[in-house]
Symmetry: C2
Subunit: 246 residues, 2 copies
DNA sequence: GAACCTCACTTCGTATACACCTTGTCAGGT
DNA sequence: ACCTGACAAGGTGTATACGAAGTGAGGTTC
């Protein structure tokens, strides 16, 4: 269903990877669903070989799970997984921000305009959540890249995929959103000042606040371990969104 | 050259992955070398399909690099990469140790016997470096598993492969080795005491000391960025060693 | 009636064939 | 002598065919 072009410009494997990943993130493929090689090959109009490559990449990223001689299924996440991810981010991102403050690599102008742009989106009558998500993701990635630490960027982005499935942004209250956007501006100031401690603190607050918003937004905020997963499908955005929280 | 069995018990892809990985870590495949699918298929006695899967896994782990329509080549590391890895470990492993101190998941008996075993190996006339490496790796992995954080274990082990190429252990002075082994015992004590701050400090010292030993052991310890990489082949151990420092 | 066995089906794992891309080389022209 | 274009070779990217393993349904036996 809904195949558009048999093969994109180039790279059937790349195409298959992006498409299946999008389907997982938008909730079209729910946790536990089987990802049959033959079915996907038919639906996407390619052969099984690039499908296998795509599934291997998704498995390596933790979005899917490989069961030997059985097949690949979409990974199921619990709120405990979300806790794991945010606890990791609350270590790695502040540390990266501190490094970015003294590396001299921060593109302050670009970061500032991203923060302003997010303000503009949020101030609209009907805020464009997908656009804010995209901008936010670019902001966070740019900060980490400024840390001058390639592996850090890869590690964090590998772990940031999962929250996307939870549609984190929809859990934000207007108040929490305002505070989150203010954090961005404060972080740019801290980076401009070259103050690693300040930058680290701001990012730490930023991530912890996001974590809190998501926990509170969940139905069962009490028991922090076994919530199955809601997997809100929401509107499947054609834009490949890839941003965590705001 | 040196193919033993065409296909192991089961899994040609698994076999190919392990074999190529071993060749990279032991230095048989130097940084920059091409990993031709056809050649590897012939050498290992399997077809190109499982070879491709193995190369994709190695690429995902960062041991190899994929160049579109060109092929896969062994990744080249500089001392800057080593700095990246140890700086990451000096964040993640202490943090994991602190969590392990209060999680109640630490297998203290097993950890203690591993530390004792390493002492025994080191006290021998001719210390078995490979065995110490193996024990040390098991020790570190067990500590991280005790943190109750699955992704942490995966992230660290994904990043720990690279130092193996550098044969880190050979850079240790007898004094540094003694201190490192003492750290293990102290860490077990800290975990037993359930003191997260103590555990974190010990592990931090442990990793930083290892880092220092390796830097000092390198020929050019001055410029911290562009050392090509020595890639000491040393004795190719049949044991699949997988331990970082001591 | 329940447990076990058999058989067919589904799906993965592997091998192989072919097409396209990239690159190095050589002839021809400037 | 140098640059430019076409041609050939090597290699990856993709498609397809075949074999193996696991699963579930249905029948048989105790």
């Amino acid at each position: 269903m809904a195949e558009q072009i048999p093969v994109e410009g180039r790279g059937a494997a790349e195409y298959a990877y992006g498409e299946v990943r999008r389907q997982i993130i938008t909730g079209q493929r729910a946790g536990g669903d089987w990802l049959r090689e033959g079915d996907l090959a038919t639906e996407l109009g390619v052969s099984r070989t690039p499908i296998r490559e795509a599934l291997q990449r998704l498995t390596a990223e933790g979005l899917a799970r490989h069961e030997p001689n059985r097949g690949v299924r979409v990974e199921s996440w619990t709120s405990a997984d979300l806790d794991e991810i945010f606890s990791l981010r609350s270590i790695l991102e502040p540390w990266g921000s501190a490094r970015a403050a003294t590396s001299g690599l921060a593109e302050l102008g670009r970061l500032d305009s991203l923060a302003v742009e997010m303000d503009r989106c949020a101030a609209q009558e009907r805020p464009d959540i997908d656009e804010i998500t995209r901008l936010n993701n670019e902001f966070h990635q740019l900060v980490l890249e400024a840390a001058g630490h390639v592996r850090l960027v890869h590690l964090v982005s590998a772990v940031v995929d999962v929250p996307l499935v939870w549609r984190t942004f929809s859990h934000y209250s207007p108040e929490a959103l305002r505070r989150s956007l203010a954090h961005h501006h404060e972080l740019v100031d801290a980076l401009r000042a070259g103050d690693p401690g300040w930058a680290e603190s701001v990012m730490h607050s930023h991530v912890r606040a996001a974590w809190s918003s998501i926990r509170d937004g969940q139905p069962s905020g009490g028991e922090p371990g076994e919530t199955p997963l809601p997997a809100t499908p929401s509107t499947p955005s054609p834009e490949r969104s890839a941003g965590p929280e705001c």
